[in-house]
């Protein structure tokens, strides 16, 4: 009997897979539930990327409109959006903070050295715990946070000049106009 059952294994594995895929159809990988939008940003205190002894926490960021970009050196799409971030930083429209997500400190530092550093400061989230609090699904992701520390916008995937000009910059202008 067990000999016979052995030949059912591939079928069983496939049925399991089919069930998973069926479930997957009703899930949208791009649509990450963003219950965070309109809420205060999750609290965190993390070592800084450039200086492990100093920390960066949510309270340091309060008071100004800022952009939080989640990135990692293993993430190819982050490389694609890097020029856009540099452009945004250069425009002086907003301060960009980085959350270096599940990365190696050395490679992240040399990445910034080689490609240019658009960030005011980076929090180093080695185990990705803060990323989970922020509902990070995969790098890159970009959040826009207002003066009160409320998350106002989340962009999943690489930023493009189009997204920057059509979504991020108008939003930033509107947020800055708020009192």
């Amino acid at each position: 009997m067990s000999r016979q059952l052995r030949y059912l294994l591939p079928l069983a594995a496939f049925l399991l897979l089919a069930g998973l895929l069926y479930r997957g159809l009703s899930l949208d990988p791009k649509l990450v539930p963003s219950p965070l939008i309109g809420k205060s940003m999750p609290a965190f205190t993390l070592p800084r990327l450039q200086d492990p002894d100093a920390t960066l926490s949510d309270s340091d960021l309060l008071g100004e409109v800022f952009v939080l970009n989640i990135w990692a050196t293993w993430c190819i799409a982050c490389r694609a959006e890097h020029d856009v971030l540099l452009e945004l930083a250069r425009s002086g429209a907003v301060d960009i903070y980085g959350l270096n997500y599940k990365d190696q400190r050395d490679s992240a530092k040399s990445w910034l050295q080689q490609l240019g550093n658009p960030y005011v400061a980076n929090a180093f989230d080695a185990d990705g715990r803060t990323g989970i609090d922020w509902g990070v699904y995969g790098a890159p992701e970009t959040f826009v946070i207002d003066r009160q520390g409320i998350i106002r916008h989340k962009h999943i995937g690489p930023l493009t000049m189009e997204v920057l000009n059509e979504e991020i910059l108008p939003l930033l202008a509107a947020l800055k106009a708020e009192t």
């Binding site: 079928l11 159809l25 009703s26 949208d28 490389r79 540099l86 995969g138």
Partner: protein, 668 residues
């Protein structure tokens, strides 16, 4: 009018597929030769109608018929003609038509060229292919009709995605689909054999050349895709472990296992159940890839527009095809005889080891690809699996794979004496270890254990291949005899193996060296400025605006010097396409045998300054050179003389018996 003709031809093709699926199968089960004989004409009819449908869609693009929704979405009057044709498979509906068309082509090819098959077997094989075809044709007609009209008719089309306006990507999908769909032949052979209960060596021999040809196409397709990503995406990567890349790589790995396993089944009658399972799996993974690309369950740069209804349709289709075939396997496989026995130290064992490694790697890739979905479905949150995971997994398993690859050709079937084997390969072992240690020393570059390992494995592969060749030719005395050996029966398989395995050695070197030693620099440059990288001096001569047929390009000029001698002038471009205003990079590449110099334009920084990416990529060509050698090896093997002999034998009406193979044993 012509689009309706295409639509109508598509409906007729579906009807033909129905005929093909039903009559030969039923006829073979209740012994009605007349019904079985329907197979060939039905295959021919199906192909004819698919050809008409395909030609109609090509025509719609060429004459800019924007009343057809698909053409309006992906065509444009300014599109160069070659891309008007490739736009046919540039998106979901048309690429499905290409799928169906190629499936029709493979079905016709089997009907025409598999003359050595008994009619009953041929009927069943074609019938299974017809069933697959029904799935795709009805999917297209009910959910994704490429000939649907639109009103009011737009005056201009929305143009093909600029990423796809490239020669490499124009031919990449057809090659890949030839591979994916070609695996349906091996699949159909396996199903037919399971139904008939005759999983014998002749079944293996019949499916072997077909499987190899499909595998060659898949190899070429993947290699082209990797090459395209390298020169088109602008950051010099050649593989990204993207879900869709994985979707093409998994069938390739399993098909690789399959062609080796088929060899064992053909020659030794062993591994029958395993081989048939691999044949089912290879095509199942192709279908799974189709699902992943088109259903939107995973995010990928390659994804087509996602539509849950389409996803559900493909999933049901998957369940019927894969679930049905695996159920058939579970039912019939226990009755299959075990076949030839073999010792622990034998070529069979080594091939089985390689098979298992390939399947394990596939399983890990599948797991990594689906992990985001698994986490999401089980409510564990959202994750993404990146480069490090896949790379680590690959680095762990491939060295064992290559070790066994070296041993395999030196080992005899059935049983090989350990002492004798050791005597044979000790030179290879010595040479490769020396080469590896040498390469790991900091004499060259900075020295690295990985470089040492890669060199050791490649040298091991090459020396063992050389030993195997020497042993084979030692039976031939004199130059004439050796030359004669090239045209002997079974020599195609042997030299094909040699070439393909050599390709793996070349590939290994390429991958390792470019990963370890590539140098990149992102830099802001003003016109006239110079910068040095890896011993080369790059001089930036500014950017000028150049019009293209359907785009406007900023073309940079970078002159590259080495010790004051000008090597080349590179002209990377940044193109803005007129309709879909996405910026596209065209890298400037100076290709070389041992290194590429690669420049891509970043952003304009004002005052004529630009951000530039400069790369020095050692041995990167070897990656694709390896791919090409592997494919060439496959071609040699597929066109081995003995498959043509099988054709002749059929004409003389004497069935092929396994005994015939003994004559060529030990040669492949």
């Amino acid at each position: 009018m012509i689009p309706e003709l295409g639509h109508f031809a598509l409906i007729l093709a579906l009807l033909m597929a129905l005929v093909l699926a039903v009559f030969p199968m039923v006829g073979s089960l209740n012994n009605t030769p007349g019904w079985v004989a329907v197979a060939r004409p039905a295959a021919f009819g199906q192909f004819t109608f698919l050809l008409i449908a395909f030609a109609c869609l090509v025509n719609a693009f060429l004459v800019n018929d924007f009343s057809v929704t698909y053409v309006a979405q992906h065509g444009n009057t300014k599109l160069p003609n070659i891309y008007k044709v490739s736009a046919v498979w540039g998106a979901h509906e048309g690429s499905l038509l290409l799928w169906a068309f190629i499936l029709g082509g493979w079905t016709l090819a089997v009907a025409l060229f598999a003359r050595s098959l008994p009619d009953e077997m041929l009927g069943r094989v074609l019938s299974v292919m017809g069933m697959v075809s029904i799935g795709f044709l009805s999917f297209m007609l009910f959910t994704s009709n490429p000939f649907a009209r639109t009103f009011p008719v737009p005056t201009e089309g929305r143009d093909l995605n600029p990423l796809l306006q490239d020669f490499g990507l124009a031919i990449h999908p057809p090659m890949l689909y030839m591979g994916y769909v070609g695996l349906s032949v091996a699949f159909s052979f396996a199903i037919a054999a399971l139904i008939g209960g005759k999983l014998d060596t002749s079944w293996a021999r019949w499916s072997r050349p077909w499987t190899t040809v499909a595998w060659v196409f898949l190899t070429i397709g993947i290699t082209l895709g990797s090459w395209w990503a390298y020169y088109e995406l602008g950051w010099g990567g050649w593989w990204f472990w993207d879900p869709v890349e994985n979707a093409s790589f998994m069938p390739w790995l399993v098909a690789t296992a399959l062609i080796h396993s088929l060899a064992v089944t053909e020659k030794r009658g062993a591994f029958k159940r395993w081989t048939v399972l691999l044949a089912l799996l290879a095509f199942s993974l192709s279908l799974l890839g189709t699902f992943l690309v088109r259903s939107g369950v995973l995010t990928s740069v390659h994804s087509f527009a996602a539509d849950p209804a389409r996803g559900l349709y493909i999933l049901v289709f998957l369940c019927i095809v894969i679930g049905g075939s695996l159920a058939l396997y579970a039912w019939r496989a226990p009755d299959v005889s075990s076949g030839g026995s073999f010792n622990v130290l034998s070529r069979e064992t080594l091939l089985l080891g390689n098979n298992l490694l390939l399947v394990v790697i596939t399983a890990f890739i599948l797991l990594g690809t689906l992990a985001p979905l698994i986490y999401d479905a089980l409510g564990w949150g959202k994750i993404s699996v990146g480069f490090p995971w896949f790379n680590t997994m690959f680095i762990i398993f491939t060295p064992f794979l290559v070790l066994l690859m070296g041993l395999g050709p030196l080992t005899r079937w059935k049983h090989h004496d350990a002492a004798d084997l050791l005597r044979q390969f000790r030179i290879a072992l010595l040479v490769s270890i020396c080469a590896g240690v040498l390469a790991a020393l900091p004499v060259f570059k900075e020295g690295s254990a990985y470089a040492g390992l890669a060199v050791m494995l490649s040298v091991w592969l090459v020396t063992t291949l050389f030993l195997s060749l020497r042993r084979r030719l030692s039976y031939r005395r004199g130059v004439a005899a050796i030359l004669k050996d090239f045209s002997a029966r079974g020599s195609g398989s042997y030299y094909g193996m040699l070439l393909a395995h050599f390709g793996v050695a070349v590939f290994t070197i390429g991958v390792t060296f470019v990963t370890l030693y590539d140098i990149e620099k992102d830099i802001r440059m003003a016109p006239g400025e110079e910068v040095e990288l890896a011993g080369y001096t790059f001089r930036f001569d500014g950017v000028e605006s150049v019009p293209g047929p359907n785009y406007q390009a900023d073309r940079g000029t970078i002159r590259v010097f080495r010790q004051d001698r000008e090597i080349t002038t590179l002209t990377p471009e940044k193109r803005t396409y007129l309709v879909q205003t996405k910026p596209m990079t065209e890298a400037g590449i100076d290709a070389g045998f041992t290194r590429d110099i690669y420049v891509s334009l970043g952003e304009a920084l004002g005052g004529g300054s630009w951000s530039l990416r400069l790369y020095y990529k050692p041995f990167v060509r070897w990656i694709w050179l390896g791919g090409i050698l592997i494919a060439l090896g496959g071609i040699l093997a597929a066109f081995d003389k003995r498959y043509r002999l099988a054709v002749n034998r059929k004409v003389m009406a004497s069935p092929a018996t396994p005994k015939d193979k003994l004559a060529t044993q030990g040669q492949t």
